[in-house]
């Protein structure tokens, strides 16, 4: 996917990226400056298949093959903001996919680990990240269920593949005070995001968030449900 593009084209993509951040991300409820800057810097069009490049900065997820998608830009930004990353922190991503989320994380912190179970996707993503200068991102081909205990515990974990349960090994590798973000819903239809926090005493809590403008659930003339 990562092919050379001309300087004129690059400038056009940069303008689109700027528009994407302004309209789709900052225009909604992502306020974290670091996240907005990361979204401005990473060339999303190099993470999508060539045939989807023209749509790379549109407000939508795109297919990347193997039944996987690159998430909508807003979802990537929102999930990254949820992790509340600070310099010096260490993050694990489960489900590398195209490598885009890992590249965004790498803009914010130095230690990023990412695991992809589908070998072809993982190899492609590793090559792409290296080519784009993200040599520090460590990519592993393997089962993300078990996390990456050799490098744990992590301050933040982001699970980009929708899971039907939350793997206990990942919870164990989350530092006390750490945050984990998981999208809930199938490809092209993320409806909620789940933020999992581990308190200093090790207690785990989840928070379900709807990444959309919220409408009251009860019509006029009544209190909330």
């Amino acid at each position: 996917m990562a092919q050379e593009v001309g300087a004129g084209e690059e400038a056009r993509y940069e303008r689109e990226r700027e528009r994407m951040v302004r309209e789709q991300i900052a225009g909604r409820d992502v306020r974290d400056r670091g996240v907005l800057e990361a979204m401005r810097r990473v060339p999303r069009h190099l993470f999508v298949p060539p045939e989807s490049r023209a749509d790379a900065y549109d407000d939508q997820p795109l297919p990347i093959g193997y039944g996987q998608t690159i998430s909508q830009p807003y979802i990537v930004a929102y999930m990254t903001q949820l992790l509340d990353l600070k310099p010096g922190m260490k993050a694990l991503e489960v489900g590398t996919g195209s490598g885009y989320q890992a590249a965004i994380l790498a803009q914010l912190i130095d230690e990023v680990y990412t695991i992809e179970i589908i070998e072809a996707l993982g190899r492609e993503a590793a090559g792409r990240l290296k080519k784009l200068g993200h040599q520090d991102v460590r990519v592993k081909i393997g089962d993300g269920y078990f996390g990456w205990p050799e490098h744990g515990p992590f301050d933040a974990i982001v699970v980009t593949a929708a899971a039907n349960h939350i793997p206990p090994p990942l919870l164990q590798q989350l530092k006390p005070g750490g945050r984990m973000a998981i999208p809930v819903g199938g490809p092209f239809q993320v409806q909620t995001l789940m933020l999992i926090t581990k308190s200093p005493d090790g207690k785990v809590r989840t928070r379900s968030l709807m990444p959309v403008r919220f409408v009251p659930l009860v019509g006029q003339g009544s209190s909330r449900p």
Partner: protein, 796 residues
Amino acid sequence: MLFYLGIALTSATILGLELALMRVFSITQWHHFAFMIISLALLGFGASGTFLSLFQHRFRSQGQRVPAVAAVAGSLSILLTFWVSQRLPFSLLRIIWDWHQYGYLLLLYLLFSVPFFLLATVVGWAFLERQERISRIYFFDLAGAGIGALVTLAALSVLKPSQLPAGLSVLSMGAALFLGWSLGRRWQLMLAAALLVPVVFLVRPLGLNISQYKGLSYALQLPGARLLAERNGPLGMVQVVDSPAMRYAPELSLNFQGTLPQRLGVYVDAELASAITHFDGRWEVMDFLDYSPQAAPYRISPRRSVLILGAGAGTEVLAALFHRAQSVDAVELNGQLLDLLRSRFSDFAGGLYTHPSVSWHVAEARGFAEAQRRTYDLIQIAPLDAFAASSAGVFALAENYVYTREAFRRYLELLEPSGILAVTRWVKLPPRDNLKTFATAVEALRTLGLEAAPRLFLLRNWGSATLLVKKSPLSPEEVARLKDFCEQRSFDLAYYPGILPEEANRFHLLEHPYYYEAAQQILSLERESFYEKYRFQIRPATDEKPYFFHFFKWETFRYVWQDLGRQGMVFAEWGSWIQAATLFQAAMASFVLILLPLFFLREKPSAASSRFRCLVYFSCLGLAYLFLEIMYIQKFILFLAHPVYAAAVVLASFLVFSGLGSLRTGGRPATVRGPVLGITCIAGLEIVFLALVFRAGSSLALGWKMVLSVVLIAPLAFFMGQPFPLGLRAIRGNRSLVAWSWGINGFFSVLSTLLAPLLAMTWGFRSVLVAALALYWLASRSLPAPRQRPSLVNGH
């Protein structure tokens, strides 16, 4: 006679094709989408009537070659359209993001209209060219369709889904052979040779292209994944997949620190539906079973006798044995699944499927409960979505009799005095399913004269919520035990008698304590106003309106519209949308295919009033016939305790006995008052007494239930088969009008399958009956005046 057999085989192919395409698209895409495609593809019916009415004069000299060639073309088009459709890069999930997908969708509509158009042309041609034999043709048309329904339902268990198109192509080619038999030896040889083409594809079927976004596609590309077994049947394609990287525990508490046992994924129509748990007899490694909200009822006190509704691969059954239940009745709808589990995975599951304490029953959950006579300490309803009572796919109605107010009342009747009903549903945001089950339990308890508030306990994990309904009030000790359990497992309390606001929404935080607040409202005197004002439909479903999964309210349309194309669309309920979109499309298409051609009819000897009468008469019949048929399928699902048996018995009985009714009209003057009076009396009586008959016959063996069903349907169907041929006889001689009427009737039959559920959702099934009878009455007032006295010479 061979000609009529050809007609019967053609009709059998048409009906079989509807069922087969529904199956194929349910596997490769999703069942709602299958419904949409097929409804539109059936427009081929309307188009065939229009085509014949506009161009029939060109075919007159071709004689019998027309139906034979149309049947050959129909047969080949089934194969060709199937092959092309499996290569189109269409993805339902991308449709809201990618406008190209609408182009592919349109292409699919057009593709699948072709075989329906060609095959309907065969039957339409017969009505046109053999007008003196209308009753006989209609008999073979209906009887063929009835037998086609039975044969296809049986074939769904024998053939792989990928073989179904070829099987139907063989049937259509066989029809061509019969239709062209009288054309001479050369034609006979050619048609017999042509039969080999679909036979080849039957032996070497064209492959299915399952969407890469379906669970099965993903699972099979994981390292080490293996497809271990497959079974096919009318309720779906069941596949068992082993993959070390695949785990299934959607209800597991976050506090579980252990290791999950190996589990095999059970996929139904390529979506993960259940899991087979490896069990080697060591209960000490099965403690994950105690980390699910479904373990809650066992914390109140030991449950000796347990009924599991929707047992799937048996996780809840295993949990019951883990919690020392002494006898378990496990009810599973999908017989193929149970067969597969018993024959291939009994050892893997530690003998669970042949365990002496467990009785497995293949039945629809509600039907089983209605016929059951013993009582239980615990009745547990697992999330049934994948094995829902309505998954026959015959008429993709989302009806479900497991979660109605009457069903809950029945479950409560089957409980011991201290028994518990436990209902688990997946959590959705914004909340809907679990609030509806809560409301349903409240109203069911009230119908039994029991106060609801002291008998309910609602707990919630991040992905599922379980409602406990105890027949007797929960004691303070029992509540304390449940609260301890929730605290240990980090499950949220949503309701218990005496709950304080601060006790809710502590572990899995929602923006507001929605569940707690909604439970309070539902238990208050304000509940009607709450149902009214809530953005989703959470009023309890009833047997009269058994649409538990119908949550969408049209007043939320503007929110969906604003979110269209975004990731949220939290208010969108795709089932309702697709149904409405399909209806809209069909109405548009009917205008183009049926009303517009009216102005281009070449023969115009008939007055405008006569054409208008034809339009009213045949559209009323098309709508009314299917209204009644669909309503009867719904009613008989409960009695026969199986949607496929119900569909097969009702469809076949209606079609065959209607065919016999048609034969009876052969030498009669064209008056429909008699048949309409018969229909009104019988349907009116049966709707009153059917429930009583079903109750009296609920303990009969299945075979006798089927016989009783046929007896109940036969007289009504007999009368319902008469108005259509009588109408055609009345316009006999006006060839354009005959062809056009055939198209109208076919098309409105399709529209009927879309309208009936919408009517039932809004006003209940009784409204469908009333509408059907009103339509028959209207038809009886609109019968076109005969052009000439009916001939009495076409006896049978």
